[in-house]
């Protein structure tokens, strides 16, 4: 312990003797650590943003949309068939053990009017389960209930965007709005979710009971009165998503009387996969950047090695004297290792400060989310110490094994 504190003291004294030289040597490490910190911060910021977007969609979500249809040889895009029904949704929830909730959804656009204001927005006809799946919560008022759905009550839950555009600052709860000239009572306001991963405003929406939406606003499809545009399902857990998908597919094929040779008349999609791919690519990008940045750490390490070799040469007589006075091999080794580590860790600390400020500036100027975790900081300190030890070892060893007589005689 005494040895170590004294080694640290000696090291700092030696570094102070050559301030400019020490500072320049540290610079390599400073740049290396700062760029690692900044790139990791940008990378983890991006990953966090994707995770937030996933959370805003809702967790463990599986979406079922109708398949494509062809009419006189013209194939229409998927989602145009009317093969999915409210009954499908009920059976999915009831019969698939890995599916927790299944919510039917119809959607369309409509002009909404309140007083002198009007606003074009998306209208979703849903059941209360939809709010659960999408992880929507109501900040003001209440959700509509299953009774509202059953009775086809004219109630509406508004997203933050239509509220802002229709009501300004006024309290919307209990007010009557007109959607396609049908009066609806506003019963609740959703908590804002912000943009989706695709840049859509997730708050620009009005939720109506699915029954009311079909009959009064969006219209009933002639081919199938029970038809819905989408069924949203939530799996019991993330691990059960593949099983839930398989079960849903099997059940729907059975319910739609499809033969083995027939293609699905619906498709089952998993948002998680899209996001997982995005997340993976962003973290691979971040790792690549960090790898490039860490090359400069290695360059900094070589700088330390260079300076330590010079330092050992300059202090050969001092080493010889210390050996004559009884310094053992490990005493000299420790002294020079501590000096190298002091250089690199001091550089690392400066680099961390610089890296954090750089990522703050980047996030302000470029508008990228950045996040510097304690893990990244610890890692940076650890790596700079490792660089110091590994690049300081050779010069320190060289010092420790000097011949004391030669060293004492060295001019």
């Amino acid at each position: 312990m005494k040895q170590l504190t004294s080694s640290i003291k000696i090291a700092f004294r030696a570094l102070k003797m050559n301030k400019l030289r020490s500072a320049l040597t540290m610079l390599g490490i400073v740049i290396g650590v700062a760029s690692v910190i900044a790139t990791v911060a940008i990378g983890s910021g991006a990953t966090q943003r994707i995770q937030q977007q996933i959370a805003s969609i809702g967790s463990n979500i599986i979406i079922v949309v109708p398949g494509s249809t062809s009419s006189s040889g013209v194939r229409l895009g998927s989602g145009n068939a009317v093969t999915l029904s409210e009954a499908d949704a009920r059976e999915l929830a009831a019969q698939c053990p890995d599916v927790a909730i299944a919510a039917p959804l119809v959607r369309g656009g409509a002009q909404v009017v309140y007083g002198n204001n009007n606003w074009a927005t998306s209208v979703y006809g849903v059941t209360p389960d939809y709010l659960t799946i999408r992880d929507f919560s109501v900040v003001d008022g209440a959700e509509f209930t299953q009774q509202d759905v059953d009775a086809a009550n004219k109630v509406a839950v508004l997203g933050a965007t239509p509220v802002a555009n229709l009501f300004g600052g006024a309290d919307p709860i209990g007010q009557t709005i007109r959607i396609k000239n049908v009066p609806f009572t506003v019963v609740g306001v959703l908590s804002p979710k912000g943009q989706s991963a695709q840049g859509q405003d997730q708050d620009d929406v009005i939720l109506l009971p699915i029954s009311t939406a079909k009959r009064k606003v969006l219209g009933v499809k002639q081919a199938n009165a029970d038809a819905v545009d989408t069924i949203m399902m939530q799996a019991q857990s993330g691990a059960q998503m593949p099983a839930a998908q398989d079960e849903a597919q099997a059940l729907l094929r059975q319910r739609h009387h499809l033969q083995a040779a027939d293609a699905d008349d619906f498709s089952v999609r998993n948002m998680q996969e899209i996001f997982a791919a995005q997340e993976a690519s962003s973290s691979i990008m971040a790792m690549m950047l960090a790898a490039v940045a860490s090359v400069s750490l290695v360059v900094g390490g070589i700088g330390i090695m260079n300076i330590m070799l010079i330092s050992v040469r300059e202090r050969t007589r001092e080493i010889g004297l210390r050996q004559a006075l009884g310094a053992k091999t490990h005493d000299i080794l420790t002294q020079f290792l501590v000096e190298a580590v002091a250089l690199s860790v001091a550089g690392g600390v400066v680099g961390i400060i610089l890296g954090i400020s750089a990522s703050a500036i980047i996030s302000r100027l470029a508008g990228w989310a950045t996040s510097v975790g304690p893990g990244a900081v610890l890692l940076a300190v650890f790596f700079s110490a490792v660089v110091g030890i590994s690049f300081g070892y050779y010069p320190a060893r060289k010092a420790a094994y000097l011949d004391p007589i030669e060293a004492l005689r060295y001019e």
Partner: protein
Amino acid sequence: MSSLIDVRSLTKTYLLGDVHVNALQGVSVTIERGTFVAIMGQSGSGKSTFMNLLGCLDRPTSGQYLLDGIPVENLDRDQLAEIRNQKIGFIFQNFNLLPRMNALENVELPLLYNISDTPDGDERGQRALAAVGLADRERNFPTQLSGGQQQRVAIARALINTPEILLADEPTGALDSHNSAEIMSIFQQLNHSQGITIVLVTHSDEVAAYADRIIGFRDGRIVGDAPVVHPQKVGEARAAPRAALEMVQ
């Protein structure tokens, strides 16, 4: 009790390029505890090699060396370092103080390499400085001290671990006559009052006159070994080493 230093047929051969240099060619000598020995000889006579071996800075090619009863010729690097730390105090011609440390820190340097902790280090350092008459200079850096003072700091450093033996390699070589006399009287006092064994290399017969015994080296062998009869008068003091010196030449 055995002799402090017991050297038997010590040889040392260096390889200089392709040439083998026989720096020591069978040196046998014993030095008793409490003696003050001066070693004289021309450069290349092997006296420096001999001092390096005595100081456990180097290992002999062959022969035996018992220091305080311990055979040291086969010890490894770190064991030799331990012996140097505990039993030997070195004093160099050019003082070898570390310029970035003050006098007290220089004096305490050997304590850093003690196996056991020395919590009373500052006290010991101050005592050692006081013993060489520099009690008021402990915060001074070497550049702020005269040559004589620097050498006194070096002596204090050599004494801090209470060694058995002081090895001084031309300790007055870089000093004027006044400072030389001062340093030599410190040696003499240490030898007389504390019984410390001193082995000193010198070219000067004036310096050698302070010793009890003069060993002369030539061509890697001991060519003279005579006690110095300490006379009362200064004039006669010069005569003794001259006799020894004549043996050398």
